[in-house]
């Protein structure tokens, strides 16, 4: 197969993944809607997830297939360009979506995350959809500044951290939503499918604690690379500045939890703010920002 064949294959696989994630999203919606059963006499609704076991199973199998297709698409993209597929924002986006999906699946082996399937499939659809429509660039070689083995180390650790930050943000968001419901009274039947507030709080903390050293490493490896390519390891480039801010916010989050004993609502808000600074850095600085991290054509 020629290089352009691989590039076409990668694009086709992205479309397949999009279709499968959409299907998985629909199954999750079906599951969410129909697991509520109305009592025929009183009209009260109650949660009975046993009736939708099948649609839940379909949804997660389709999600798995979609992720497999996405992973193959990323690999094919890499083969077509003869390098790691992290050369422009389209490639960051598909690789980032892949790490998010893989993190969801792997962590799902240990904790029951099926309640997160619906928001996760929406998020991935949004990332992939905007990647293929707005950010798409044909497969091409790297600009000289990116021709370094640090590309693999720096960018993949940053993307992997981003995928897991996004996951912890989703969990923290779910926490805040449930917390509002519980403060008003009892959980609605609809919300009963989600785990307890306590375990959501713990899960989002664990995700951050797990990935914070990796994010630290991403920043430091970026500094080492900048020293080799640009002659300084730290220059307050907008991207560097925001990576620093994200680091500080997550450091404060961990501190607040471990030493000041923050948990629950306050901690979830701080987690969301820190995660938003990562997203802002990713989207804003790449698209509208200036500085040395913007390469021609995104």
């Amino acid at each position: 197969m020629s290089q352009s064949d691989w590039a076409y294959l990668s694009n086709d696989l992205i479309y397949v993944a999009l279709a499968l994630y959409a299907l998985s999203f629909l199954s999750y919606t079906y599951e969410t809607a129909f697991s509520l059963r109305a009592n025929k006499i009183s009209g009260d609704k109650h949660l009975d997830r046993s009736i939708t076991t099948k649609s839940r199973k379909v949804a997660s199998i389709v999600f798995l297939l979609a992720t497999a297709s996405l992973t193959l698409a990323v690999i094919a993209r890499g083969i077509s360009a003869e390098r790691i597929p992290l050369g422009n924002m389209y490639e960051y986006s598909i690789t980032g979506a892949m790490t998010f999906a893989l993190a969801y699946l792997i962590i799902g082996l240990k904790f029951d995350l099926s309640w997160l399937g619906l928001p996760s499939s929406i998020l991935i659809l949004l990332i992939l959809g905007s990647a293929i429509t707005l950010l798409y660039r044909p497969s091409a070689p790297l600009v000289p500044a990116l021709q370094s083995s640090w590309l693999v180390i720096h960018v993949s650790s940053a993307i992997l951290s981003g995928g897991i930050f996004l996951l912890s943000n989703t969990v923290a968001g779910a926490y805040l939503w449930l917390d509002r419901i519980e403060r008003k009274g009892e959980r609605s039947e609809f919300a009963k499918r989600l785990p307890s507030l306590e375990s959501l709080d713990q899960l989002s903390y664990r995700l951050v604690a797990f990935v914070f050293p990796l994010w630290t490493f991403a920043v430091i490896s970026g500094a080492i690379w900048a020293e080799a390519a640009w002659g300084r390891y730290w220059g307050w480039d907008p991207k560097e500045t925001w990576a620093f801010i994200t680091w500080i916010l997550y450091a404060s989050y961990l501190h607040a939890r471990v030493t000041a004993g923050w948990k629950g609502r306050k901690a979830a808000w701080l987690c969301l703010i820190a995660g938003s600074s990562y997203l802002l850095n990713y989207v804003y600085i790449n698209v509208w920002g200036s500085g040395r991290h913007t390469y021609s054509g995104l």
């Binding site: 070689p141 000289p144 630290t216 300084r232 925001w242 501190h255 471990v258 054509g297």
Partner: protein
């Protein structure tokens, strides 16, 4: 009656205690994050001086106000420095006493069992004996202290070590950064292909030494630029590769070495490194007066304006009477359209063209005011001609002629001495190690108390990591039913 005065010493002590509290350190940390935001919103002098100048042109009044608050020099501003210096002091004041405290703590026995064990984590009962529990805890390398009816055990002391290692390493990183800016230097020089760069202060286009860097200590290396080749994608005009071939000498009398420099492969001379930062073209021109005498000859570096290397430049000939200046543009691959007029459509030399407007009058080079080498102040001058030249062509004007002989590429070499970077790197690596230790080592206590023939067992996960309940479950199982 007067209120008791607060003595100066106690006031200072109070301030010191406030500054070095964990709360203050956290607030300062968050403040440092917030303080660095404006630097990503407003253009910074250190990174894009041109954009700062545009800001001043567009809105002089607003820019003046922004400048008063150092918003174009955020990271060198007094208020930013104040925050990080305070953070630094706070960190030192917080971490060092903690280290001493910790070293005393490390030899202490774990605190005695609380009176009500059933309120603690993982509370369970076991029929085993106290001796067996002690043996189990010892076998699992817990540190223990005993009373007649209870045992207190603790494990995972390394976590606090990791925590301290992390914070101490941050101090090392900050010292490294400070060392770089004080003892280091950086400078830039444009060198045409075929020329030689000798590392002395006069050969730099700009040079920023650190406060304690003496210019006399510049290492005496030389770099001869032999060849520079840039390849570009024919379709997208994207750069594919830059390769610079040089011959270097570590000092005036050492032997010559041939080396290749790339964007990610700088040259190294001891603690000084030389980076390939930018490239452009220098048209080679000869200027003659009306008698045919050569008044100027050589390459003139032009400043690229876009990715296709459309460049602007100035050729100044002060030795002619009247003085002559050429305000010029250079296009490596000349093209023309209605909107842009002349421009370059490709960065390689496919159809090079030199556009000139000839000015006569006073170049103002004797005023002593530093001038841009790319621009001419034409306020006191008169335009006497306008022409475009291909290689080999000449143009005659009122008082002489100019010949466009050819083009050589130039490279911008960035010379950096950064003596603190090793410390910053070592500090960073240790910081990650410390972080991993402090986040992933479980520090926990287990208490055992004999109550009515049975053992009450419970614990405390000091850093809230999961696994304590499983551990106590395993302990109960392994202790079994025997006394």
């Amino acid at each position: 009656m007067s209120a008791p005065e607060l003595g100066t010493t106690s006031l200072l002590r109070y301030l010191w205690r406030q500054l070095t509290s964990m709360r203050t350190a956290l607030i300062l940390l968050l403040l440092l994050g917030i303080a660095s935001i404006p630097g990503s919103i407003f253009p910074q002098r250190t990174q894009s001086p041109l954009k700062v100048r545009e800001y001043f042109d567009d809105d002089p009044n607003g820019a003046k106000w922004l400048d008063r608050f150092y918003l174009f020099d955020v990271y060198g501003s007094p208020w930013f420095s104040a925050i990080y210096l305070l953070l630094f002091i706070s960190l030192v004041g917080c971490v060092l006493p903690r280290s001493f405290h910790y070293f005393k703590e490390i030899f202490k026995a774990p605190p005695e069992a609380p009176s009500l064990l059933n309120t603690m984590e993982g509370f369970q009962l076991s029929p085993a004996s106290l001796e067996r529990a002690e043996a189990w805890l010892k076998k699992n390398r817990f540190r223990i202290s005993k009373t007649s009816d209870s045992i207190a055990a603790e494990k995972g002391y390394l976590r606090e070590t990791g925590n301290l290692l992390f914070h101490l390493s941050l101090i090392v990183v900050l010292l490294g950064i400070a060392g770089s800016s004080v003892f280091g230097m950086r400078g830039e020089a444009i060198v045409n292909v075929g020329e030689r760069f000798i590392n002395t202060p006069t050969n730099y286009d700009n040079l920023t030494p650190g406060r304690f860097f003496s210019l006399g200590s510049l290492p005496t290396f030389t770099i001869r630029v032999n060849n520079f080749s840039a390849t570009y994608d024919r379709k997208t005009t994207q750069a594919l590769d830059y390769e610079l071939k040089v011959t270097t000498k570590d000092s005036l009398d050492s032997s010559e070495v041939n080396q290749i420099v790339k964007v990610n492969k700088p040259l190294t001379f001891g603690s000084t490194r030389v980076y390939l930062q930018a490239n452009g073209y220098s048209p080679l021109v000869t200027v003659r007066d009306s008698a045919g005498l050569v008044k100027f000859e050589g390459p003139v570096p032009f400043l690229p304006q876009d990715s296709n290397l459309s460049s602007i430049g100035a050729i100044k000939v002060p030795d002619m009477d009247p003085q002559i200046g050429f305000v010029s543009s250079f296009f490596p691959t000349a093209a023309r359209d209605e909107v842009r007029g002349g421009f370059s459509s490709f960065p390689e030399l496919l159809d090079p063209r030199l556009l000139l407007s000839v000015w006569k009058g006073d170049l103002k080079m004797d005023d002593g005011v530093p001038q841009s080498i790319y621009r001419i102040d034409t306020t006191d001058m008169e335009r006497i001609g306008l022409w475009a030249l291909s290689i080999g062509e000449s143009y005659s004007f009122e008082v002489g002629s100019i010949t466009f002989n050819g083009v050589v590429p130039w490279v911008n070499l960035q010379v950096v001495r950064d003596p603190g970077k090793q410390y910053a790197l070592i500090g960073s690596i240790l910081a990650i190690a410390g972080l991993l230790i402090s986040l992933f080592i479980r520090q926990r206590r287990i208490w055992v108390r004999e109550v009515g023939g049975n053992l009450e067992i419970a614990g405390l996960a000091l850093n809230k990591l999961p696994g304590l309940e499983d551990e106590i479950g395993k302990m109960i199982q392994e202790l079994g039913d025997q006394k």
